[in-house]
């Protein structure tokens, strides 16, 4: 548990260093994820302790968004003024994106299968 958590933090740290060094527009943890993925491919397997720690952490992934969500209380005035535009944009854009991405990927996969 401790070793695996340290490993995750080390990869995150490596990601942060790369982002700062190359002035990338991407956050460090995403680069950290890519690095860990590459390391797992190179190693050809996941160590047991890393697998169990990752599963524990990801099991309650949604908990980690709660503090940011509570930030809604700071923006109540703006939301009160602009709520029709905000709600409209969020609902329409989320569903359109879900639908378009799903249908497009389905179509591409089908075409790939029919002409091997």
């Amino acid at each position: 548990m401790l070793g695996a958590l340290t490993l995750l933090l080390l990869f995150q740290l490596a990601g942060e260093v790369i982002v700062q060094f190359f002035a990338l527009p991407v956050p460090g943890p995403v680069i950290g994820m890519a690095l860990l993925f590459a390391a797992l491919v190179a190693r050809d397997g996941v160590p047991d302790n890393l697998r169990s720690t990752a599963n524990n952490l990801l099991q309650h992934l949604s908990l980690l968004f709660v503090p940011a969500g509570v930030g809604v209380m700071v923006h109540l005035a703006r939301l009160g003024d602009e709520w029709p535009a905000i709600v409209g944009a969020l609902v329409a854009s989320t569903f359109v994106t879900l639908g378009v991405t799903g249908l497009v990927l389905c179509a591409f996969l089908k075409r790939g299968k029919s002409q091997p």
């Binding site: 994820m33 908990l63 969500g69």
Partner: protein, 241 residues
Amino acid sequence: MAPRLTEIWVYLAASPLLGLTLTLLSYQGAYWLYQRSGMNPTANPVAIAVAIIVALLTLTGTSYATYFDGAQFVHFLLGPATVALAVPLYAQLPRLRRMFGPALLALAIGSLTAIVSAIAVGWALGASQPTLMSLAPKSVTTPIAMGIAEKIGGLPSLTAVLVVTTGILGAIGAQWLFRLLRVKDEAVQGFAIGVAAHGIGTARAFQISETMGAFAALAMGLNGLATALLLPILVTAWGGP
């Protein structure tokens, strides 16, 4: 007795312990409700937990900054959790190899759709410029979206709220939409959820199946990269700030 209680409250309200405990308790209460509802997507645990906490903070007159002193420890774990997504992703490696090309194309189209539709609908309904710029990165995970919003002239803390709302909407509505559109492949469903509804959608996808969760995690990571690269360019081209 009452003055003593006030003293204790003043002490506790200033320490991070209360914000942290409140976050964990509210989430577990919300998760219990979610389970009791038979994992009904409309009983989204993030939405319920946020509602409980906002109500309690408002009732006790506690500021968000004071609350966040404690809650930041939970918020911090988003970083290592994002890195940990590499593990379920690795488990899908053989499948990933097979659909790599189509997935990248779908990512590009999905990412653009998310940005353009959010700005277009917001603009048509009369949202202000800072609100539009805060809406634009709403489909990518919180830390990325906040970074992008800052760069393009949005309000990072508003973006965080819009991102969480988007995730909740996606987690609630995705299964229903896929049934309607007859999208049945779990990998495809997961990928679309990851592009449109980032980590909260991914958390929901993991509860349905490991495959769906892993593809959601993949799409979420890729869309984070794609949006971080595309959006500043689009905004500059549009003649933004």
